[in-house]
Amino acid sequence: MTAHSRTVRRRDSSEAGFTMIEMLIAVAIMMTVTGAVFALMNPSQGIFQTQPEVSDMQQRLRVGVDSMAKDLVMAGAGTYAGSAAGALYNFFAPVMPYRVGDVDDDPAKNVFYRADAITILYVPPTPSQTTIRDAMPKTAEQLKVNEQSNCPRTKTGEIDQHDALCGMKEGMRALIFDNQGNWDAITITSVQDEALHLGYDGELSVSYAAGSNITQVATHTYYLKTDVATKTFQLMHYDGYHTDLPVVDNVVSLQFQYFGDPLPPTLLPNKPLSGSGPWTTYGPKPPDLATTFAPWPKGENCAFMVDPVSGAQVSRLPVLGGGVGSVPLTEAMLKDGPWCPNASAPDRFDADLLRIRRVRVKLRVQVAQVALRGPAGVLFTYGGTSTGGARLVPDQEIRFDITPRNMNLGR
């Protein structure tokens, strides 16, 4: 019997169970592996949630920088064909630290500086650069333009001629400006055989004389929209007419700083005011000494005055910072006048805006999810509910500078 049972046991050694030692080792290994899996799972979950948000935030930062940089670098590019060829800062200020347009216009509310808004104008590459044929009253609804040699050609039947509309099309933004510092940006709402219909709210800022310039233009306003109640923090773009669109979400800070030419504008030698431009280093040209641009005295405008001693036309603006380097232009300097074209014009701008040579932008973005933001402070503009650890993604902030090429032509 004993012998038999031993035989059975021997035969089925695979069912003998584990010894205590084996059990302990097995359990220890299992515990280690399970422990490791859990130790890995916890942060992995955080990383899994966090990293896509981090890269999303970085992408938004890049988009913000790129979209503003590409417009800022073009700022001030002027017409390059026809009689008024030259950068826009020889006529008016193409960079303005506030919102300009038909809807919610800042100058209409007497606001002439906002740290978180900028308006940029430039003439894009376009053949549509010409002059207006007839004088335009303030309430003009349509206009005719001169056919110039740079205008595109059209072929109607056998007749091949310059386009009577100089290539202007429905929906195009256009700029009308003269030599006195007046300007208006309008939208072309429809076109007829020979006339352009204009779209703008209210009325033009002045009556334009025949021969004033008209060109296709790009108008861009960037500003920060902050609405804590609905948690909307957006970098916005406004086209100057009727459309506001968000560019980037979760932008919590946007600031513009301006650096300028320390030297005041001067008249270029050997450039008679009656000839072709540019006539000045920058800024609108003054009239000749016998002519008046009301309400300025004879021979003067917002940028130039007649020196009482020498009788020559000299700058109205001071030399800044010893005349060297790039000088920070403060809020006070940019909204204290002298005003161009004059202090009562609806589209007036501070003559110091003509000095702008470089714009510094501060842009700050936050992570989109509230659960990834910690308490408000240095790292977080708007606090969140993060429990810390891997689920803590601080705001990212960057500063960049742009030197608009067409506002630094002599530099």
Partner: protein, 197 residues
Amino acid sequence: MALARSRFSNFSLSDSEAGFSLAEVMVATGLLATALVAVAQLFAISTSANTSSRNTTFATVLAEQKLEQLRALTWGFDPLGLPVSDITTNTAVTPETPVGGTGLAPSPAKALQENTPGYVDYVDAWGNILGGGQNSPDGGMYVRRWSIEPLPTNPNNTLILQVLVARIRDRGTADLGNVARLPDEARLITVKTRKSQ
């Protein structure tokens, strides 16, 4: 007895129900652990890839900023046609000062390989310019070196501007010999020419 035997033999015959040996379990566990470590590394890689992309973005934007600062300095002709050059503006501080710096004055030969006062500044993680000098002030995260060389064929009127932005760290052999750009760093080159109005 016969019954019992047949039962036992049935069990022992069925090999598939025999369970695993310790060695098998160990091998399986080892494989699992290796796989887990590999997967865990993916998380680490994704984190470091994001960090690296952030550093590359910042380095590029900061390099661009320095180039734009240099571009804005006067390098033209006055209304009478005489050349005007800004060689004193200090762009390493905020706001820039009209004196105390090097402006667009030509840089020493090794300005991109070593911190050369006048041709270097330091920036913190938020993009604030902290100042120049041989060593970074507290809080510096990026070092920006720039060089200004006259173009050999037109030395009086044309400059080659270069900027190299790197995390503040020992760049090792990258600072020896030719100018090198390591991963996460940015190096931009442009040309500036005097223009008359």
